[in-house]
Amino acid sequence: MKFENWKKPALSAVAFFGTLGTLYGVQAAFTSFVSSDYAAPRAGGSANLTSALWNKVIDNVVDQENRISGAVLWKEFTTPLTKEIGFTGAVLTSGITVSGVPATARYLLADVFVTVASSDHQNVVIGRGLASSQKNWVGTRGSQPSAEFGNMARKAVTLTYYGEVDGFTSNYGIWYSSQSIPLNNGGTFDLTNYGNNGTAGWVYMVIRGYSE
């Protein structure tokens, strides 16, 4: 591609740098551009691309990469995907796939619906690497969580489904929207409903986006 043809994407990228730099405020390495930086090389090609400007460009590209790499950046599905999972009793299921989710996806943006056949309190956990079930509620209201919880330092979302001594349960099911769900390598997820006391039910998901 000719040098001239790079003008537009380069210009938009420069504006983009500035926007993100302002947004995140983490650009220790960021060196600002000035209007003359843009004008000179555009007018005369590589001969006018000074070392000083070159250094700024490199610094900004490197800074940009450092901030993008590993970040959660949602990409919309043109049409959201749906996934439905039935369960009977307590489950710990690994490697659930969703057709249409890239194997490189690290996170899903999803609205999750849960319905259970009886008044059975349980917390539905969906996420990455759920090798074991961990207690995630307190038996006496107001108790110190860490005194009763298992190891919750895991990449997962935990959704409370009321029942039993809560004094009520949902008849119509509950939606938990805008959940950021971590995925396993390969774009799968794990699910557990530890706390379930033998009831059957369903998890239904509307998956609106993903992040690689």
């Binding site: 990228a13 947004l23 490199i58 490197v62 990469e65 919309e76 349960t169 509950i174 805008s178 690689e212």
Partner: protein, 212 residues
Amino acid sequence: MAITELAKPVLAAVATFLVTGFALGTNAAFTAFSSVDYAAPRTGGSSTLIGASWNKILDNVTDHEIRIGSTILWKDLATPIIREIQFAGSVTATNVSIPGIPSNARYVLADVYYTANSADHQNVVIGRNPTTQKNWVEPTRGAQPSTQFGNNARHSVTLTYPGNNDGFSSNYGIWYPSQVIPMNVDGTFGWTNYSNSGSNGYLYLVIKAYSL
């Protein structure tokens, strides 16, 4: 800064580029930098080398644009925007503007509050052109969702407000924080409370950020 001081972060960044490039697998245009690319222009290198390296810079900038271009990037509002909507009974897909939100916003990040004046179960749907679709199960809790739901593969959030046969309803209203709400193409959002059985109330949003 001496060239030797620059070498470490630059080489680390080069490694990041390479690792990220392979890991994400999304960068067809990606061309890795080499230490030569950095060193020569920084010391005033030849125009030939600058030209080649310039192309690599542009390849990387383009790659960044591809990876970030259509994703959700939140921009903080200096002061969150409040939007309050009164309803009487069932509301069918009404579009709502938000003064202060750009017309090209694709998403808002909002904490949503909902209150109704009776124990009337309803699911509040907020988003991009939401249509009224059944999104609960009845009369039997634990029924398979997909056998009862309408087409919920839509870009919206769904918020459950318990009532009726749930055996419980909120007296004080319910907050649904950190909702990722898709917008219409004109920066408005649509909403519906399909399943409302004649109750009146308010939908109240605290909009903290938006994404173009």
